[in-house]
């Protein structure tokens, strides 16, 4: 089975994230890049499926040069090879453009199963899996906390508010996973050393045959025109207890209709 895992490099959630002053896109140089956490679950699931059914795991990422670190981590975890879609023309792509670029690349490299994390910690749109499935014309099985493949049938448990749905499709298909699905492995020393010998194919927009008017900031359907930092939290009111603290507190709660 030919499994492609889509991974994304995101700014470390522990650091302060900023927008660029020139075009209001995410400033990817301002923060350390890390693998989007949910994508690690996707890589783990791909590796488990490979271990159970055989085949090959390819990592696909779209992002600037430094996204190569993210590829290296996925390869160290055990993926076999990688494709890095990198081009300045892709800068500022919105979800639609990204799904177009990724879908074109996926058609080029071929796949039986595409696995994604259910969302990224930076953009948090959570729509890429659905968009990819639509563009590729294959089944979409999203928000899975369990995946089973038997022959050409793939079955997932989709997490819902009330429990889960059992969803079945046939390969080829696109799956997105939630963090309850597994526990991602740590890259082993052996895996880390093997990673640098694994092939990484770099593709530009031209090689991936992307139409220039479909990608980048210019093709985005929405534009951030202005951004401002959230106002700092206002200082609270201090109630001094002069024997009537309870009454004052009750008055306050009552004024907010809590009691």
């Amino acid at each position: 089975m030919n499994i492609v895992v889509c991974v994304k490099q995101v700014p470390d959630t522990a650091t302060e994230r900023k927008l660029r002053s020139d075009d209001n896109t995410l400033d990817r140089d301002a923060a350390d890049g890390v693998v989007n956490e949910l994508d690690e679950y996707a890589v783990e699931e791909a590796l488990r499926l490979k271990e159970a059914h055989g085949g090959e795991v390819t990592v696909l990422t779209m992002g600037p040069d430094k996204a190569a670190d993210t590829i290296r981590k996925a390869l160290a975890m055990g993926a076999d090879k990688a494709v890095h879609l990198v081009d300045d023309a892709l800068h500022g792509s919105d979800a639609l453009s990204t799904s177009y670029a990724m879908a074109q690349t996926l058609k080029k490299i071929g796949f039986d199963l595409v696995i994604l994390g259910s969302e990224s910690t930076d953009a948090r749109t959570g729509v890429l899996a659905a968009m990819l499935a639509e563009r590729l014309g294959v089944a979409q099985l999203t928000l899975a906390n369990k995946v089973e493949v038997e022959g050409s049938a793939v079955t997932i448990q989709r997490v819902t508010d009330y429990g889960y749905d059992k969803v079945q499709g046939s390969l080829p298909a696109v799956i997105s996973v939630v963090e309850k699905i597994n526990e991602p492995r740590y890259p082993s020393f052996k895996g880390i050393m093997a990673a640098k010998k694994k092939p990484v194919q770099k593709l530009g927009a031209a090689e991936a045959e992307l139409a220039a008017d479909q990608i980048g900031l210019g093709a985005a359907w929405s534009e951030v025109t202005e951004a401002a930092a959230a106002p700092p939290r206002a200082a609270g009111t201090v109630v001094k207890d002069e024997g009537d603290g309870g009454v004052k507190t009750a008055d306050f709660l009552s004024s907010k209709k809590f009691i």
């Binding site: 160290a76 740590y186 890259p187």
Partner: protein, 328 residues
């Protein structure tokens, strides 16, 4: 020659750091010592196989490759005989294929008594003890003739060995206690650097939140300077540790001198970090409730291990002054 750390060395350290962050938090250091927190996980990623030759199931790495990873074990104050098992044991058990396999899998924690070391650290957490006697290495089954000795670090416990226990010892003809001592000294220096980094980070964070005279105490120059001095000491010590590892790996004639320079510098930097951390934290730094004490104790314990700062400085001085190339 390029002295920068390689991507691989940094990636090995990153994976060790990730494991320790998840499986060896301060609560585990405080309460979990006896179950060897994170040990099995780190065995899974291959830390204990690093210096074991490939033909015995290891990775055949050099000590230098593991220095940043060993720093991380110090940063987390990880309990157990880590430096001994990772660095010393492969050199001592070189002639024992079965033991090397156990080492590589992480199922054979080893502690040692080498050189002038009096006590065996974490002997109760080891499955095998190796002691040096008359320049030779001997293996002992764990648990016999051990007496817990009072020590500064309640987590890194020290044990004396009854002389009669040596009667049951088995010689290790392929073992190289001299190489093992060099390696474990460098590994301990790396852990000291890691512990110092943790103390510095924690103290800088504390100085940024603790307020006095209407401002964070970190805004006062007297506090800033102390912390800057620690940062400088740590940054000066870290390359000496790496250099020592390279010298030991290549068996350079200056290896012993470089090991002494590394241990002395790392010990001094870490003790300075500990002293400053305590000073900046003030009285709360002494308390049992704050995790700081776990790192203070570890620094004091490791700084004295495998030769304290003074003997290593003396050996360094001796080596430089007796070098005719330097002092014709």
């Amino acid at each position: 020659m390029d002295f920068a750390l390689t991507d691989d060395q940094l990636a090995l350290a990153a994976t060790v750091r990730e494991v320790l962050r998840a499986h060896c938090p301060p609560e585990e250091v405080r309460h979990g010592r006896d179950r060897r927190p994170a040990w099995a996980r780190l065995a899974g990623v291959g830390l204990f196989a690093a210096l074991v030759p490939e033909e015995h199931g290891g990775l055949g790495l050099r000590l230098a490759d593991t220095v940043p990873a060993l720093e991380e074990t110090g940063r987390a104050a990880m309990p157990g005989p880590v430096a001994e098992t990772v660095a010393a044991a492969p050199a001592l058990l070189a002639g024992e294929p079965d033991s090397l396999g156990g080492l590589a899998s992480g199922k054979l924690p080893v502690s040692v008594r080498l050189g002038e070391q009096v006590y065996i650290p974490d002997a109760d957490l080891a499955e095998l003890l190796v002691v040096e006697s008359g320049g030779r290495a001997y293996a002992l089954p764990a648990g016999t003739g051990l007496t817990h000795q009072p020590g500064v670090d309640p987590v890194r416990r020290l044990f004396s060995l009854a002389p009669s226990a040596l009667d049951a010892a088995r010689p290790l003809p392929g073992g190289d206690p001299r190489l093992a001592l060099r390696r474990v000294t460098v590994a301990t220096a790396a852990q000291l650097v890691g512990a110092a980094r943790h103390l510095l980070d924690t103290t800088v964070a504390y100085a940024g939140t603790r307020r006095q005279f209407g401002a964070p105490i970190g805004s006062f120059q007297a506090v800033k300077h102390r912390l800057a001095d620690v940062a400088i000491a740590v940054e000066f010590a870290a390359p000496l540790v790496y250099r020592a590892a390279l010298s030991v790996d290549a068996a350079r004639p200056t290896a012993d001198r470089d090991v002494s320079a590394a241990k002395a510098a790392a010990g001094e930097a870490a003790e300075q970090a500990a002293r400053t951390a305590l000073q900046v934290h003030g009285a709360i730094g002494y308390t049992d409730e704050l995790d700081l004490r776990l790192w203070l104790a570890r620094v004091w314990s490791l700084a004295a291990a495998y030769g304290g700062t003074a003997p290593h400085r003396a050996r360094l001085r001796e080596s430089i002054l007796s070098d005719p190339g330097r002092w014709p």
